[in-house]
């Protein structure tokens, strides 16, 4: 169904919008667009980063999710206190599969939930004392932690607790960094502001801790920024970067540590994977420390090769040779993967609706498999994300920003893609409609998908989803049989 013309796609958008009241229709219309590669600036065709409409099903998260869940959470040797009622921390605990090495509960704390468990009396009388007590308890029970971050939940901002004062005082007492993060969930329109707040907290409380400290640097020091090691992604990326001769000083923040973050200002180049969530800190380091940053894409062999060459272009010939060596080494493996799966996946269509970087980054990987992305959209992107997306997507394909549950369902019904790439909230809706879905947030409990190793797994998973025999079995036999029988009987009579 990728053969829709521009007019047909526009008509489809109008058809879907018809059910809304006039005011809502006007608002939603700005968030839906037909891609036109000739447009230089996305804001001419699509509006983003606006408040979701009341009454529609949005798939967005909150600022706390952006800070605790995405940026801070994966830092493994720090303890991240979900400061507020127990639910926010508990329901977001360990769901993102940021893999790490270490002994959980001893020197690493990634999958554990620390919360101040606010009760009514804390809301009424304030939770500062509780926070101070909690920090002392942590120090007593988990002495090997390297630092603490205080991730505010909504009530902290509402009742006006002074977590900064408590943090400063306690940090002196236990002699470890304590970072208060003002990421109350009600701030901003989506998790995107949480990323920004978290980045600013790192800038203000962490990044300059080792300024002036001695560091044995090499000309090949880089850091991986914005890779959260979902299913081992950052590891699959890191081996390629190390193989080409670079030294990875720090990983942000998947499998990352506080010490790595503090050493990042010493690197020569910041490699930025998730632009949306960590461009802020990269810009800051560029200004303060003069470290250039580079966006790269490690999904699918075509984009990996492009990215490896772009990274190598920042270094000398030794690294450039290294990049070519790495590409040449993996080329035959990738050809074998493509030879195996491309015939099965050729011409299949995909619709994506994810967050961060994937709605544009994975397009190349699908294209390597001969698949076509016919619609894509972000939960919480800003204009600059769509600027980058327009060039990646084909003409007359569908773009949708902060799409509502209803709209996404209607688009999928009309466009009938062979695969939908979205999250857990969409998964069962579409699978019950008979359309295969892969979760592109958590890789559907698989992964890694980054790097050359990841592409082999990616290809296998997409094939597994699409070629699964269950999709032809959705109509139960007792509903199928009479029809075919009557058809056969009719034939006999005729």
């Amino acid at each position: 169904m990728s053969t829709l013309t521009r007019e047909e796609t526009e008509a489809l958008i109008q058809e879907v919008l018809e059910v809304y009241p006039e005011k809502a229709r006007k608002d939603r219309e700005k968030h839906l667009a037909v891609n036109d590669q000739s447009v230089e600036q996305s804001k001419k065709c699509i509006t983003s980063n606006r408040k979701s409409l009341p009454g529609v099903m949005t798939i967005r998260g909150c600022a706390y999710a952006g800070s605790k869940g995405v940026v801070w959470g994966p830092i493994k040797d720090m303890i991240h206190i979900s400061h507020g009622p127990v639910g926010c921390g508990q329901y977001s605990r360990a769901g993102r599969r940021n893999y790490y090495v270490g002994t959980t509960g001893v020197d690493t704390f990634g999958t554990m939930n620390f919360t101040s468990d606010f009760q009514e009396k804390d809301i009424v009388f304030g939770g500062d004392k509780k926070l101070a007590k909690l920090i002392n308890e942590i120090e007593l029970l988990f002495p090997l932690h390297k630092g603490i971050s205080v991730q505010s939940e909504c009530p902290i901002g509402l009742i006006g607790d002074d977590i900064e004062a408590v943090s400063k005082k306690a940090a002196k007492e236990i002699d470890k960094p304590i970072v208060p993060v003002r990421c109350e969930g009600f701030r901003g329109v989506s998790q995107s502001l949480g990323h920004h707040i978290a980045n600013d907290a790192i800038r203000d409380w962490v990044l300059d801790a080792r300024d002036g400290a001695p560091f044995e640097s090499t000309p090949y020091d880089v850091s991986i920024i914005g890779d959260y090691n979902i299913g081992g992604d950052a590891w699959a990326s890191r081996i390629l970067i190390e193989e080409m001769g670079l030294r990875v000083v720090s990983q942000w923040s998947g499998d990352g540590t506080l010490a790595e973050m503090e050493k990042t200002p010493k690197v020569k180049l910041n490699l930025l994977h998730c632009y949306r969530s960590m461009n802020y800190i990269s810009r800051h380091m560029e200004e303060k420390y003069g470290i250039p940053w580079l966006e790269y894409n490690f999904f699918g062999p075509t984009k990996i090769a492009e990215s490896l060459r772009a990274i190598a272009a920042h270094f000398d010939d030794k690294i450039k040779e290294g990049a070519e060596r790495v590409i040449a080494k993996y080329q035959p493996m990738m050809e074998a993967v493509i030879a195996k799966y491309k015939p099965r996946l050729q011409g299949k269509t995909v619709m994506l609706y994810v967050g961060g970087l994937r709605p544009r980054h994975v397009i190349g990987a699908y294209e390597d498999l001969g698949m076509e992305v016919i619609g894509t959209g972000y939960e919480f992107a800003h204009g600059d994300d769509y600027d980058r997306t327009i060039k990646e997507m084909g003409n007359a394909t569908l773009l949708y920003d902060d799409v509502t549950g209803f709209e996404l369902e209607e688009f999928v019904k009309k466009l009938k893609p062979d695969l939908v790439g979205s999250g857990i909230k969409e998964k069962y809706v579409f699978q019950k409609m008979g359309i295969p879905l892969r979760q592109m947030h958590s890789w559907d409990y698989s992964g890694p998908y980054h790097g050359y190793d990841g592409f082999a797994i990616f290809a296998r998973d997409m094939d597994m989803a699409i070629s699964n025999p269950c999709w032809s079995k959705l109509v139960p036999p007792w509903k199928k049989l009479p029809e075919t029988e009557t058809a056969a009987e009719l034939k006999k009579v005729a």
């Binding site: 600036q41 804001k43 920004h196 810009r283 560029e286 200004e287 003069g290 800003h382 204009g383 600059d384």
Partner: protein, 74 residues
């Protein structure tokens, strides 16, 4: 007054970033861009305009500055 960041890309073109609103855009024109004087009124690709106090060109980019909004886009 707003805090902005001005970057210079490899080709020498300036770009503008307003962290508070996460607004990133290219600077189309800059009133003064010479060795002695730099800044003045800048026009963005989106139609907005800002005013940077004219000064000697910064030694290093990117740089954070205070700018006054002359004409906002939208």
């Amino acid at each position: 007054m707003a805090n902005i960041m001005v970057r210079k890309d490899a080709a020498g073109a300036y770009s503008f970033y307003l962290p508070k609103r996460d607004l990133e855009d290219a600077i189309v024109t800059m009133e003064f861009d010479s060795a002695e004087k730099w800044g003045g009124e800048i026009r963005l690709n989106n139609g907005g305009a800002y005013y940077i106090e004219p000064q000697i060109p910064p030694a290093r980019f990117p740089i954070s500055l205070r700018a006054r909004r002359v004409d906002a886009a939208e």
